[in-house]
């Protein structure tokens, strides 16, 4: 049986992955409540036109003579058809079961209303939730945390994966951060009671350092204990791999064990493909593959919790429609947003597709933006996390959300 046969077979009955590694039908929703949102930011601007490929459009192939993904049915490297117009980069084959189970949706031609092509400004705007406005000091996920009933005040209600705290989670409410590399569970001096006791006294002040320290201690006590157990079970002395799938499995383990975690964030770099980005193989494909496998591992690792989880994958802007002189792409505008989860109404592409005709391109070169990225997030926040519409003004100040088909993206 080849891979595609296996995929076809495994998705025929709308199967979803469960935590024990078996493929089974979805179970009842968990009783303990607490919907979760995981946001993955692809830093560096992923080339969305080579993620969800508009294969129905000849302009796509004309603009990309060396890096286009072949149409579905092509003898080699064919894109995986999603509908009559769009297809998935075959490097993301690991996500096809989720698509066929109706648990993966894409919103194409999504992005920011701000025109910047600076990675750093655009990432800031993606994270602070106020395009064009740099002075917003906190991140929209921290403001969201404040609006999430029962979540605020818990040290691990929101977790950033990594050694530093990203802008998106900065703000008034305490959040945790933790790298998920294999060494994360290694014992530290602070894990010894006499050391902890001495430093607890030293960091007892109610100032930014004192608060960060106490959050760090609480998060470590809660999160690392779980990682430790996992490591002892899983590794048998062998080093754990440090790959997206392995990290995603660890994240799934954390979330499945700790129901306090309501929001999680991961920023992944390496998408700024100015040179030789490749097509169905090569640089971009080599980065997409582990990401797709990682997301599939996350869905699988969450087991029954997957029904309460939505994952949104986005990037600060898109890339030029035309490939550049070096078989790569330069900074562009519109992109595709990915939405996955047990209750996502997936298996379809959302958004108004503006097309790639010259007159339709933004500034004559880029995919236009027809869906504000905040509209995509607002739909998930209000429908999945059940935040009332009025609280959206706090989370995305100045953004007027209009009702659209996106209202139905989560059941």
């Amino acid at each position: 049986m080849n891979r595609r046969d296996f995929l076809a077979l495994s998705t025929a009955a709308a199967l979803i992955p469960l935590g024990d590694g078996a493929w089974a039908a979805p179970g009842p929703p968990s009783l303990s409540g607490g919907q979760r949102l995981i946001v993955v930011l692809l830093r560096g601007a992923v080339d969305g036109l080579n993620v969800v490929v508009p294969y129905g459009e000849e302009a796509y192939y004309a603009a990309r003579p060396t890096i286009a993904i072949p149409k579905p049915g092509a003898p080699e490297g064919a894109a995986l058809a999603l509908d009559e117009h769009f297809a998935l980069n075959p490097a993301l084959a690991a996500l096809m079961p989720l698509w066929q189970a109706g648990q993966l949706a894409f919103i194409h031609a999504a992005g920011s209303p701000d025109p910047t092509r600076s990675h750093f400004d655009a990432q800031l705007f993606t994270e602070n939730g106020t395009p064009g406005r740099r002075v917003t000091a906190d991140g929209w996920m921290n403001r969201l945390l404040a609006a999430l009933p029962g979540a605020s005040g818990q040290a691990t209600a929101a977790v950033a994966i990594g050694p530093t705290l990203p802008q998106i989670l900065k703000g008034r409410l305490p959040v945790a951060n933790l790298p998920l590399d294999p060494a994360a569970a290694n014992k530290l001096a602070i894990d010894r009671p006499e050391v902890a006791q001495a430093f607890d006294r030293l960091y007892s002040a109610n100032d930014p350092l004192g608060r960060a320290y106490r959050q760090g201690r609480a998060a470590r006590a809660e999160l690392v204990a779980g990682l430790d157990a996992e490591q002892q079970m899983a590794d048998n002395g062998a080093p754990l791999p440090n790959t997206y799938p392995a990290q995603a499995a660890r994240l799934a383990g954390l979330i499945a064990r700790d129901r306090n975690i309501r929001l999680a964030f991961a920023g992944l770099g390496g998408w700024d493909t100015h040179v030789r980005q490749g097509g169905h193989t090569g640089q971009l494909a080599n980065r997409l593959r582990p990401l797709g496998e990682g997301l599939a591992a996350l869905a699988q690792g969450l087991g029954g919790e997957w029904a309460d989880t939505v994952v949104v994958v986005l990037s600060e802007f898109g890339r030029t429609v035309h490939e550049n002189g070096d078989a790569g792409t330069d900074h562009g505008h519109g992109n595709v947003v990915w939405v996955l989860g047990g209750k996502v109404r997936g298996g379809r592409i959302y958004g108004d597709w503006p097309g790639l005709a010259p007159a339709a391109l933004y500034e004559g070169r880029d995919l236009a933006v027809t869906t504000d990225y905040r509209a995509a997030l607002a739909a998930v926040i209000t429908r999945h996390l059940r935040i009332p519409d009025r609280a959206l003004n706090e989370i995305f100040p100045g953004f007027a959300s209009a009702h659209s088909e996106l209202d139905r993206i989560v059941t």
């Binding site: 000091a137 001096a189 050391v195 350092l209 002189g325 070096d326």
Partner: protein, 504 residues
């Protein structure tokens, strides 16, 4: 970048007091000495503190601005002399350690490529060792601080393709000689260095329809042109447009890499290929650039170096690094004026900065980056280091791996960037291990992994008494009280892991 961090740190819940404290005549003299060492140096060592106190802060600052007046200790010189790859030029590095040349006898097997990649690891190891040893032991501290500052400003990433060969050479040839020199020289040196040409793809930026050495057809690539304006010179609000990005990319077509088998050449690795240059007139920043081959790029770099937006951008970044996350506007304006008048004389700008009321009054206003925190702890503790790997590992675990910042904006230097829950528990754990003598800092740097029995490579516990007398004026009441209540063997750890020592 800068403006963003200035503004975002203004929020009350995140920021330190936004302005430096008012000047207090009553600041004890030893506190001023510590302050100057916390900014011009990687914190106080016993030796540097004694020296600065003896000669006074004004003289210390003058010495630091004239590093050649300070002799490097012979032990450091001999350690550096043993690092052979530091002295190799980019061509030699490519020949000895690069992948085999295309068009050569046989295509290298995957095993051969892997073996050469493995052998090439010595380059990064030696560059990192030199960087850390100089930062710890050189009396020319400001020079080391500015090498870090400018490397970060003109960041390149060791894991991008061939850059693992050239990151150390880039620091030695393009950054270090100009660290206290003229900005224009830095700009030109970085623009022509293979490490930057490769990192931001300009080596492939070519007139449409021209061909690369391998025969592949090439074209315009905007990557370097955009970051050159946004990050290196004008700043994101510096008044350029997308049309300027494209014009600058066209101006820089043909700026690429020399190859060992190509004629002529100098050993710098830079080569301007007229056949890949887009000839013709260009409109750049409101000016007409006449067709002049390589000279067009020289002219554009000169325009950028002299642009007032560049002066403001660099002045703001220096003030943020040396004074406060949100530096006073008046100071930035004065430094920008000095930058313009002196045509980018870095030393002149720093002299004004260090003499300013704002600098003198900004005691402890900055939160240390991981790089600085680790180095300052080792310097204060006086722990001998022959193997810097545990220090490099700690920097990486704290989110600031040396030579491995993937993005061209470099690492930010602000509390906002580095204060996090995980960072605090990691820092106090590092301080505890360092103070207890448990880090294998005495091993051999070449070892890939610490030996199984690492006890021989570990030092003695740090004595708290001299550390306390060194840092004393910067240690507050709460830390004193907590230290007094702690077991004696933890006292040095508590000084190095204290909130007071997280700041500079």
């Amino acid at each position: 970048m800068l403006r963003r961090s200035l503004l975002t740190t203004a929020a009350a819940f995140l920021a330190l007091p936004a302005l430096p404290r008012p000047v207090k005549a009553a600041e004890p003299p030893d506190r001023q000495v510590l302050h100057v060492l916390d900014r011009l140096a990687f914190g106080p060592s016993q030796e540097d503190f004694g020296h600065a106190k003896r000669v006074g802060v004004e003289r210390y600052i003058a010495e630091q601005l004239d590093p050649n007046s300070l002799a490097e200790p012979p032990e450091l010189a001999s350690r550096l002399a043993g690092l052979e790859t530091l002295r190799l030029d980019p061509i030699e590095l490519f020949v000895r350690y690069g992948p085999r040349l295309p068009g050569g006898e046989m295509k290298p097997s995957p095993e051969e490529i892997k073996a050469r990649r493995e052998a090439a690891r010595i380059i990064l190891r030696e560059a990192a060792e030199a960087r850390v040893l100089r930062a710890l032991y050189s009396p020319r501290q400001l020079e080391q601080v500015m090498v870090d500052f400018w490397f970060n400003h003109f960041n390149v990433f060791a894991l991008k393709g061939l850059d693992h060969l050239w990151v150390g050479a880039y620091e030695e040839a393009a950054i270090r000689p100009h660290a206290l020199g003229h900005f224009g020289d830095l700009l030109r040196a970085t623009a022509r260095h293979p490490a930057m040409l490769f990192y931001l793809d300009n080596w492939e930026n070519s007139a449409p329809g021209s061909r690369m050495p391998n025969g592949r057809e090439a074209g315009i690539n905007e990557n370097y042109a955009r970051e050159l304006m946004e990050l290196h010179t004008l700043g994101v609000d510096g008044g350029y447009t997308q049309a300027d990005v494209i014009a600058l990319a066209e101006i820089l077509t043909g700026w690429g890499l020399n190859r060992p088998r190509m004629p002529p050449a100098d050993r710098s690795g830079f080569y301007f290929n007229p056949a890949r240059h887009q000839w013709g007139e260009k409109q750049f920043l409101g000016r007409v650039i006449a067709p002049n081959g390589e000279g067009e790029g020289v002219e554009a770099l000169d325009m950028l170096a002299k642009n007032p937006a560049t002066a403001r951008h660099i002045a703001g970044k220096l003030a943020q690094y040396f004074v406060a996350d949100a530096p006073p506007t008046a100071l930035v304006e004065r430094l920008a004026a000095r930058f313009r008048e002196s045509e980018g004389d870095i030393r002149a700008v720093l002299r004004d900065l260090f003499a300013s009321r704002e600098f003198r009054g900004s005691v402890a206003a900055k939160f240390k980056s991981p790089y600085r925190y680790v180095l300052s702890a080792v310097r204060a503790a006086g722990v001998p280091v022959s193997n810097p790997r545990p220090l490099l590992g700690t920097m990486a675990r704290l989110g600031q791996p040396l030579y491995h910042c993937a993005t061209p904006d470099g690492y930010r230097d602000s509390e906002d960037a580095w204060l996090s829950p995980d960072a605090t528990v990691m820092r106090v754990s590092f301080a505890t291990a360092l103070a207890a003598g448990r880090l294998p800092l005495l091993g051999v740097a070449e070892a890939q992994e610490p030996a199984i029995d690492a006890s021989a490579s570990r030092g003695a516990p740090v004595d708290a008494a001299p550390l306390d007398s060194l840092l004393g004026p910067a240690i507050g009441q709460r830390t004193r009280a907590a230290g007094a209540a702690a077991p004696a063997e933890l006292r040095a750890a508590m000084l190095l892991g204290s909130p007071d020592f997280m700041r500079r």
